[in-house]
Amino acid sequence: MSLKDEGFKRYLGKKYPETWRDMPIAAIVPWPGNTAEVKTHAWRTIRPVINQDKCIRCRLCWTFCPDGAILEVDEEYKTSSGRVFKVSYKVDYDHCKGCGICAAECPVNAIEMVPEER
């Protein structure tokens, strides 16, 4: 069981506190890195869209993302010109704040910032 699933179980024997008696005496942060539960997607007005055919897998967008919202995944991709890449870059739209650093720093302009419509 991961620390994430464990949640309050480690302290209480159940995942979430049910009554006031279950509340821990002191403040507890249930698991490390739990801001990941917070979705910051509502911050953005423009969102990055990666053109996988144009992308040369230079890793710069992944490096410069302040939110870790560009994911590097081991997924093989064959571009339209026949080039095969072992890794792919995807956007975590739950956490992307839409700053546009990835699009500004992309050397081949493979990332486009598209207005968010809701």
Binding site: A27, E37, R59, L60, D92, C99, G100, I101
Partner: protein
């Protein structure tokens, strides 16, 4: 596991994320990029001691945390003192056999420029002077951005902040930036470096070397702040890069007192290019820009003399 081999290319940076997303740092925050790479470098065997500042406030709003390491919050003034205490406690626990003595656990202190240049300077000085095995990382956004852009010792000459306003009597910050590297150098510590998030391999390699150093080490990183510097969100990296290319920020590495410029700039750009991108410098007249240019020229000359080579070249339009 911390990084074991030198970082030469961007592909040597580990993929594993150890800094959780969902923190409330601004869009395009430079400090968030630094923290991501810092946590990648230090791995899990590190205790983070964090002074108050932007990063502390935005990553640890109760009941959540972005950190996967043991993490200790301290006030502005005592990051150095707290880190010294944690390091001394680790030493005692190792001596008593509670922790395996061969296990390498590093104490990492993180502070902003307010917590380092102004309020935390005496505890930092104490930490460096006593020779604690602590790595101290300063992310320098050149003002108290967390509380609403008040000037700090790190604010550069001419910059607008809410406490150095622009009007008839005052034209932004009156004093140049404090020389933190000079202060650290005076303590004769084994490793001092300056870094910029626009040069990630250089930054990660310096953080790795600071991690490997036995004894106190200090890494000073420029961290563009989008609301405080009045820049567009996507220009964070561009501004950090221009700071290096114009000579405002020199990427230095000082190992046991021997200085070296890690990123050489053969042809320097005029500072105007760096200043015109930022709203905090928009009030500057041509004479004031010429004064800043002269200051940077003198600084670059001093650096070149110090490292003994033409590391930063002349200005080229």
């Amino acid at each position: 596991m911390a990084l074991s081999k030198p970082v030469r290319t961007i592909w040597d940076i580990p993929r594993e994320e150890r800094f959780a997303p969902g923190h409330t740092m601004c869009q395009g925050c430079g400090a968030a990029i630094i923290m991501r790479h810092l946590t990648k470098v230090i791995g899990k065997d590190a205790i983070i001691v964090q002074a108050t500042g932007c990063v502390e406030v935005t990553t640890t709003a109760f009941p959540r945390t972005s950190w996967l390491n043991p993490w200790l919050h301290l006030a502005f003034e005592n990051a150095g003192a707290g880190a010294s205490g944690v390091e001394a406690a680790l030493k005692a626990l190792k001596r008593k056999g509670v922790i395996d003595p061969n296990r390498k656990i590093k104490v990492v202190a993180i502070a902003g420029d307010g917590g380092t240049f102004d309020i935390g300077l005496q505890s930092l000085s104490g930490m460096l002077e006593r020779g604690h095995n602590v790595m101290y990382v300063v992310y320098d956004n050149e003002a108290y951005m967390n509380t609403g852009i008040q000037r700090s010792g790190a604010t550069p000459l001419g910059a607008w902040t809410t406490t150095t306003p622009v009007g008839k009597k005052m034209r932004g910050e009156l004093r140049p930036k404090k020389d933190l590297i000079g202060i650290a150098l005076a303590h004769r510590i084994p490793y001092i470096a300056t870094a910029s998030p626009a040069y990630p391999t250089d930054m990660v390699e310096k953080l790795r070397k600071a991690y490997e150093t036995e004894g106190p080490s200090l890494v000073h990183i420029i961290s563009p702040c989008t609301p405080g510097w009045r820049i567009r969100n996507e220009d964070t990296i561009k501004v950090a890069r221009l700071a290096v290319l114009t000579g405002m920020w020199v990427l230095l590495e000082i190992v046991n007192g021997k200085p070296r410029v890690t990123v050489k700039v053969p042809k320097r750009k005029p500072v105007r290019e760096y200043l015109k991108l930022q709203g905090r410098f928009r009030h500057l007249t041509d004479e004031e820009i010429a004064r800043i240019q002269k200051m940077v020229d003198e600084y670059v000359e001093e650096i070149n003399r110090w490292v003994g080579e033409q590391a930063i070249g002349p200005v080229e339009e």
